[in-house]
Amino acid sequence: DTWRYAFEEALEEVQGKFAQKFKEEVEANSDHSVQLFPFGTLGESDSILEQTQSGILQFVDQSPGFTGALIPEAQVFFVPYLLPQDEETLATFFEESKAINEMFPPLYAEQGLELLTMFPEGEVMMTTTEPVEGPADLNEVKFRVMTNPLLVESYQAFGATPTPLPWGEVYGALQTGIIQGQENPAFFIESTKMYEVTDHITRAGHNNFTTAVMANKEFYDGLSDEDRTVVDNAIDVAFDYIIDYQDGLTEESLEKIKEAKPSMTITTLTEEQRQPFMDTADSVEQEFLEIGGDQAQAILDQLKADLEAVSSQ
């Protein structure tokens, strides 16, 4: 059969790389073929998720933050400082976390989706027109965030003026000065050229952009055992591949940025500098507990326990 797989990024970005690997594996180990649909070609992020729910698409990659409109608990990934800040621990965390591997799948299943895997896409960094060393430097800075109450709350707590803006307008708005900052993983800052219109990159370690691959549940349940194994194995191979691929991707992207724009400063905040940012996480947690659905508390607690567990390893 022909299986269709849509994602939120371009073919050569992280989600696209994962999808390409998945396609390669499936096609090598079965008679099925996989068609890939990069961002925008079948509609916006929400649209491709709905198409997967109704069975037009078999596979979809949507970041849990966006899925939050459907599964409120998934917004937990927007709570700052909940994920390990160091890359190696992070991969283990995704493989071992009870919240991710046991608590989320039933929530997705209720929406007709089989959660196949979640994986990190890279540390979220701020790019700004003025240097940032602490919350005081964000005071009155109009900072573009995605339309999500938790991100808005986060940046408000950081002291900035969170400004929602459609993605297509961000580049122009940074150029003309409507906004003075935005956040994204390094590869995305590089590929979308955000560095051309900002001057400083700040690594506060507050988050790692997480994404999830899902299948239409009815389709997945209806697969023969053999086919299901092909899918599961392809996901596993692609997961290992993407963790490997990202090892160094952040540094590589930052190097490319430096090369294209030598004047760009890249600052990694120290533990002490991060502390005031970390202190604001409480207010965001409160907001999450309010809007995060029935299992918000349980998921938050479990994620914290999971974090504890991998950190002590």
Binding site: A69, L70, T147, V152, T163
Partner: protein, 217 residues
């Protein structure tokens, strides 16, 4: 060659008059003069719906301007963006579009290419107008059906607008309504063409009333 050029220099006075017409005149639709295609009580209801559509259009556009500006004011004066303002605009554009397609159908304002239509002999035009109205009505009713489907699916999935935290189906419920009322207008137009003389672009618009240019062909 020479005469053709002189022809070009002359401005069609009609075109000029229409283009220059300032403010409210024939270009604006006077809702108080609207006559429904439906008889009796249904007609009264229909006229009321037409009025509501008109009001929704006007209020929707004004609200959009105010909402967009409020966001700017919030950002500069209060240091706080209205992060739901984008979603309010989404809701308004859907409302305007679907109130408007029905209103446009009432007044024969949908965009069409009439060049070949216009050169046909009148009996053919009448027949074609009936076919067009029926097919369009059918398409609208079909979309009504599947947009109800879509609204119900959204309602059952419980998708929320991220900033406003209200169900998405609240803002798209205008789609089935708009498609249905538009379909109804085209169906009535077909009937009007069957039982009345002349060729009707909509239940209230006679062909040639607004824009059939002399120079086309």
């Amino acid at each position: 060659m020479r005469s053709e050029q002189q022809d070009h220099e002359k401005v069609d006075p009609d075109v000029l008059a229409r283009a220059q017409a300032p403010a409210l005149d024939e270009d604006d639709i006077d809702d108080s003069k609207y006559v429904s295609g439906l008889p009796g009580v249904l007609g009264v209801v229909d006229v009321a719906i037409a009025r509501i559509e008109a009001i929704l259009l006007a209020v929707g556009v004004l609200a959009m301007a105010v909402n967009t500006m409020a966001n700017v004011v919030g950002r500069f004066m209060l240091g706080q963006s209205l992060f739901f303002s984008e979603e309010v605009n989404r809701a308004l554009i859907i409302l305007i579009t679907f109130a408007g397609i029905s209103y446009a159908a009432r007044h024969g304002r949908h965009i069409r290419m009439s060049a070949f239509f216009d050169i046909m002999p009148p009996p053919m035009r009448k027949l074609l107008m009936i076919v067009i109205a029926l097919v369009t009505a059918a398409a609208m009713f079909l979309l009504t059906w599947y947009s109800v489907d879509y609204v119900l699916a959204q309602a059952s999935r419980g998708r929320l607008l991220p900033a406003l935290q209200v169900p998405v189906w609240w803002i798209i419920v205008w789609a089935p309504l708009g498609f249905f009322l538009t379909g109804l207008q085209y169906a009535l137009t077909a009937i009007k063409n069957m039982i009345h003389k002349d060729i009707w672009l909509s239940t209230s618009t006679l062909e040639g009333y607004d824009d059939t240019p002399a120079e086309e062909v």
